[in-house]
Symmetry: C2
Subunit: 408 residues, 2 copies
């Protein structure tokens, strides 16, 4: 009879040095001893990736992407070999496999490849022979045997895709935090670890500032309904389960409060209020490679209006430049910008069936004398752009008002 | 029409850091510009291999060989990617290929695999597209896609085997010395760089202490008659050509003097002089994993004899232990050892047709009051084991007597 398979992914900080490698080896073996088949996905050890990037910096400012993949994929290859050694030293059979050896087939988009197919023959054979199988995260191989990497959060993606391909019951994501929290514990000390959260909620929280997992792998897990267990590699505590639907009895409306301080706001004043103007503006800005997030245009009672939008802080200068150009072209007025903003959001699938949640949020902010500059909503979240100096205060007030400090 | 192909191998010290990588890139491009197709083989950058071995040391004393190959092969993979970047930054097309991507097929003997076949399709295609092709040295892949490494001197072997497979006119071995010298220039300052040397001579010199190349790759080059050009990566000077036969006009009898200070001598006194005893002794010692080199047993006029032999210095303790055991078993006497020895050798293919060379060597040593402890000869070399304190003096005297300081 086939055993249940569990896929466990350990990030770079979990395997940063030989000591931590040994801790991971212990943990993995303890799972294997519970009569489960274990497939482990690892990232590059600690600083390896940064060191390789620094090396490249001494050679060229514009490295060819194919060669970057050739180079960066060595980081995970080192990790899998070392972890296999650590496990075998403790007396358990283990075998490491590169992305190419597994047959993680991707498209040809170097440095941001997409997985197209995962072959399972070799992994299954190694599991059947009693091995713990250790797979290099983040990397794949094209049908022409070119080495590719999957881009940011690539190891999570490897783990989720393997869990799908192998029919694993769960995919565990080991990281340096205990799980997903109701809000950032560095801001609000009463933040609680969330026991269960839906894929949709997690996606919203990731998009709105929670940095535990990249949205891409959550999306894949949602698509194939692979439960994710986000937990700490430094403790045995259960972490957070990310699932399709949480248990009914919880009936939580707001699951968490997020805060994103990495955006900036741009406003074009006195834009002629006629059809097609917004399209022109945002087509132009998008062409310059800037990702625009929230856009707000007020109803105008004159023939002119103000248009505001947010961009990632790191793209602000680039965004101002192209906004100035387009403003001139369309006959708009002054272009203003503000780096001193924060996006505060509440997230909860329960909002679908509960009304008045947004109003309650606005009320809390008003009570705290927080001025709201922009508002956006999705089906399961409400976000307000506010002055950054009031961000922490707003998070604390919302966390309390929605009773997130209480065990659900 | 197909262009001539040259295979160039750069060792770890030649690519130790980004600056040197750029020098190598320049050099390789200059060859390519001379209308030759260039295939470059590189070793791991400088200290990479040592760093990886240190990492392993923190995990286990007994790393599984398969995982060592998985780990160590990353060193060359880093090198090829970085060199490809360095070349492309200077505006020339280049592509890096791992051993697996080339299709350097080996047997399954991890950490000391033997090349069984090299596929050339992918390299030829890349060359035809105008690329400088950069191949990871030292590594291969089994028919089951397991990563293997070729053992010491493995990158030289990769280069020679590629030269054979591609029908290259020459295989250039770039290193941190200018070529092969008539003797060690650190001992005798008048040592000259040898212009041409035969494979046989080079093999003798390597076996007797000259450390420029591993014998294994010279043997392969000899078997397939691939001329080797050993030269410096830091200068444009011609180095030493290793060829099947050197030009007749040279008519050199002694090509070089070598000196090996890394051996130790063991003597078993009073060994019963009867048939089968030597066989027993050396079978037993060989079983303990010690490589015995020179063996001397004098004609005995009594029923006892002394047997002396040399072993690598690093294996001395192990060798003494097993020698003591076997001495007791065969009823031999005391076991003596001496670390303070040196092997001085003269090498030259011309010895085949010239007589009296050994006698001349012994005479030179006698004139210098150097006592000879052991003697061995091959068809093209004579070696004497002497006291190490006289080694440098002996080298100088022999170098002068055989006129190696004079341009041939």
């Amino acid at each position: 009879m086939e055993k249940d398979i569990v896929v466990q992914k350990f990030g770079g900080s979990s395997v940063a040095n030989p000591e931590r490698m040994k801790v991971v080896a212990d943990r993995v073996i303890s799972y294997k001893n519970h009569r489960q088949d274990v497939v482990v996905v690892v990232s590059a050890m600690g600083d390896t990736t940064d060191e390789l990037i620094e090396l490249v910096g001494q050679i060229t400012d514009d490295p060819p992407k194919r060669e970057m993949d050739m180079l960066m994929s060595t980081g995970e290859q080192i990790s899998i070999a070392v972890l296999a050694m650590a496990i075998r030293t403790q007396g358990h059979a283990a075998i490491s496999l590169t992305g190419a050896q597994v047959g993680i087939r991707t498209d040809k988009a170097h440095t941001r490849a997409r997985i197209q197919r995962i072959e399972t023959r070799r992994i299954k054979k190694a599991l059947a022979a009693g091995n713990i199988v250790i797979v290099a995260g983040f990397q794949g191989v094209t049908y022409d045997d070119e080495i590719t990497t999957l881009g940011r959060g690539g190891s999570d993606l490897t783990a989720v895709a393997l869990a799908k391909a192998l029919g694993a019951k769960v995919c565990e994501i080991y990281t340096d935090v205990e799980g997903i929290y109701t809000t950032d514990p560095r801001i609000e000390r009463s933040a609680r670890k969330i026991k269960q959260i839906t894929f949709d909620e997690m996606l919203e929280m990731a998009a709105l500032g929670a940095q535990v997992m990249q949205p891409r792998s959550i999306e894949v897990a949602r698509r194939y309904n692979i439960p994710l267990h986000v937990r700490s590699s430094f403790s045995k505590e259960e972490g957070t389960m990310i699932v399709k639907e949480t248990e009914k009895m919880e009936e939580v409306v707001v699951r968490g409060v997020t805060c994103n301080k990495n955006e900036a706001k741009i406003t074009i004043c006195s834009v002629p209020d006629k059809p097609g103007v917004a399209a022109k503006i945002f087509t132009e800005i998008s062409k310059s490679g800037v990702n625009v997030d929230t856009i707000v245009q007020n109803v105008s009672h004159t023939r002119q209006t103000d248009i505001s939008f947010t961009v990632p802080r790191g793209m602000l200068n680039q965004a101002i430049k192209s906004t100035n150009a387009i403003a001139k072209k369309i006959g708009g007025g002054e272009v203003l910008h503000d780096k001193n903003i924060a996006r505060i959001s509440i997230v909860g699938a329960g909002m679908r069936s509960h009304h008045g949640i947004a109003a309650k949020m606005f009320q809390v902010l008003a009570e705290n004398k927080v001025n709201i500059e922009m508002i956006t909503t999705s089906e399961i979240s409400v976000s307000c752009i506010i002055n950054q100096s009031q961000a922490d205060q707003a998070v604390k007030a919302l966390h309390k008002k929605f009773a997130l400090d209480k065990v659900a």
